[in-house]
């Protein structure tokens, strides 16, 4: 946002992106590759630009995005636990089992866009509001003691997002000055958004909403157990 107003005023309220997004993304990949070298592991372009970096380079990628690609607007920072839920799908009713595709009890980790090697992945999105270039950065975290450098010096807004990721996933943000609970009470144990944290409501009682996806009961038959709860 250093000098945004003058550049935009000239376009007279039109869309502020004269360059096609593809060119911008290719340019961004080049800049990132040049700045990060081997730390840049994978890229993927589909609307936004996804990049996966080494977790040691996490703060560096933030600086490159902000200072060299002009992504001044901080969108969010969070994490993904790629481990399939060890509770299988039994938190839902039987009908929720997928009829095809991979065996849902298969606990092998399968990462999404740009791949990944470990269970926990931290990801953040920033945006250049003038060109419309959005970049989603991802980093694999070590399975033992997941930790990553903080983004607070780069984007001040990362503070609360990192506190949330810390309490929900148990990811340490090295250099964060104030890593404490943001939503949960101070004495809370466990990391709720990890897949191995059970959702107790589903353990106690099957989800009554399951009637939505099974076939309607035929006329004259008893409604299935659990319906109308």
């Amino acid at each position: 946002m250093a000098e945004p107003t003058s550049a935009i005023a000239e376009t007279d309220g039109g869309a502020p992106s004269p360059t096609p997004l593809e060119a911008l993304r290719a340019e961004a990949v080049e800049t990132l590759g040049e700045a990060l070298g081997d730390a840049l592991l994978a890229t993927h372009a589909e609307g936004d630009l996804w990049v996966r970096v080494e977790h040691q380079a996490w703060q560096q990628v933030g600086y490159v995005l902000r200072d060299r690609l002009g992504c001044l607007w901080f969108d969010f920072l969070s994490a993904i636990d790629w481990m399939p839920s060890p509770f299988g799908r039994d938190m839902d009713a039987e009908q929720d089992w997928p009829t095809g595709g991979p065996d849902p009890r298969d606990l092998s980790i399968e990462s999404g866009v740009t791949g990944g090697e470990t269970r926990l992945q931290v990801f953040a999105r920033v945006m250049n509001t003038q060109t419309g270039l959005g970049v989603i950065a991802k980093a694999d975290l070590p399975n033992e003691n997941p930790a990553v450098p903080t983004w607070i010096p780069v984007y001040s807004g990362a503070n609360w997002h990192e506190r949330e990721a810390w309490e929900m996933f148990g990811i340490a943000f090295v250099g964060h000055p104030d890593l404490r609970h943001i939503y949960l009470p101070g004495e809370f144990e466990g990391h709720p958004l990890r897949k191995d944290f059970p959702l107790l409501a589903r353990r106690v009682k099957p989800w009554p909403g399951i009637v939505d996806v099974e076939g309607m009961p035929a006329e004259g038959e008893e409604p299935p157990a659990g319906a109308g709860q």
């Binding site: 001044l72 999404g112 989603i136 984007y155 807004g157 709720p192």
Partner: protein, 389 residues
């Protein structure tokens, strides 16, 4: 750089001497708890402020009184069931919450709603904006001691809610958006009625402009108060009117209208260079008026055709990741949906506007006077459900 032990000791001595002098000059520090139950917080937000006399030294919002864990709950619900939950994030503009999630699911499934559904979606989206922001426009007066605007706001918002109810059946939680389109078409006579309501809402905007803008007390309490410069706003992730009031000309509706019918409308993005409480109010007022014109244009140009695309009865979303954000009443709201090809999403990251908007509070409240705390909080405009999710 290394210090010798002696240098370190000298530094500590000097610091403690400074502290002694400051203690003598300072008034006694005080901690003020604002909330969790306070009329200015629209819910249960607690602000712990450390005061020095009348000035705030440090302020720290305490959230979580209403945390409902939607990101976890979404993982055990099917895609159509998730919209029921996310309706309750920003409860004043509920329909707008559903739209980015549905768009993300549609992007993963590679289907597109038919044009008529897109246009009605956009019209309802803008109606939620009007219903939501009109309450802010009235509420800002209350925080400054002017009670009349809020009565006007509650009175006129009802007309908009009636229109939303007429289509969706719900005043606050429509749950009307579907993957591939909408649940139903518009009821008969709705278009003409909505146009008259839009004229009424423009009257409401004019009324509030007369009541508050130019009022000496209102200007004195908001002009130059709570200034957030553009680079700070961007780095904290502020969005919506809070960002445009800092002079940033960026609106997702114009710059990235993914799947909504904004491209064919003639409208303007309002910005204000000041970045203070007044600018935030002014921008929202202009946006509300602009939205009424947008709804009228949408209803005039409404294409005919079906309102649902061909969608399987049991919705399974192919594996992939998608992030879709829209310009919601409170700011940019986005859903990062990770699918593994099952009935339920694998992970949903909800990027809610108020959470980022309010994260600037410790920065902006430093050094302000206690009465301004209330106006600055009100002008940032947050909904608790949108912070706590």
């Amino acid at each position: 750089m290394t210090f010798t032990e002696r240098e370190q000791q000298a530094y500590v001595d000097a610091a403690s001497a400074d502290a002694r002098v400051n203690v003598e000059l300072e008034t006694e520090g005080m901690t003020l708890n604002i909330g969790p139950q306070h009329p200015a917080t629209h819910g249960t937000l607690r602000i712990v402020a450390r005061l020095d006399g009348e000035q705030v030294v440090a302020a720290e919002p305490v959230m979580g009184y209403m945390h409902r864990g939607y990101e976890k709950l979404a993982e055990v619900r099917t895609y159509p069931q998730v919209t029921t939950l996310i309706n309750r994030i920003d409860w004043l503009g509920s329909f707008a919450n559903e739209v980015p999630f549905i768009l993300a699911a549609e992007r993963l499934m590679d289907i597109e709603a038919p044009p008529r559904a897109q246009w009605i979606r956009t019209a309802l989206f803008e109606l939620s904006r009007i219903a939501n922001i009109s309450l802010f426009l009235g509420d800002m007066g209350v925080q400054l001691g002017a009670l009349t605007p809020v009565f006007f706001a509650f009175r006129d918002r009802e007309f908009v809610l009636n229109q939303i109810e007429a289509v969706t059946g719900g005043r606050f939680h429509p749950n009307f958006d579907r993957i591939g389109g909408l649940k139903d078409d518009l009821p008969a006579g709705w278009i003409a009625e909505t146009k008259s309501v839009m004229a009424k809402m423009r009257g409401f905007c004019d009324e509030l402009e007369d009541l508050l803008m130019g009022n000496e007390i209102f200007e004195a309490r908001t002009r130059g108060v709570g200034v957030i410069p553009d680079h700070v706003a961007a780095s904290f992730g502020l969005s919506g009117a809070n960002l445009r009031a800092a002079g940033v000309d960026w609106d997702m509706r114009r710059d990235n209208p993914c799947g909504l019918a904004y491209e064919s409308l003639d409208w303007k993005v309002w910005t204000h260079p000041d970045g203070d409480s007044f600018a935030r109010y002014w921008v929202r007022l202009q946006e509300t008026r602009e939205a009424t014109y947008m709804v009228e244009q949408l209803l005039d140009g409404l294409p005919s055709g079906p309102i649902m695309a061909k969608v399987p009865r049991i919705i399974k979303v192919p594996a992939g990741e998608a992030y879709v954000a829209t310009e919601n009443p409170l700011g940019v709201m986005g859903y990062y949906v990770v699918s593994k090809g099952e009935l339920a999403p694998f992970r949903v990251k909800i990027r809610s506007a108020s959470f980022s908007n309010i994260s600037v509070v410790p920065w902006v409240l430093r050094g302000v006077y206690v009465p301004d705390v209330i106006t600055i909080l009100a002008s940032l405009y947050f909904i608790l459900g949108d912070i706590d999710r």
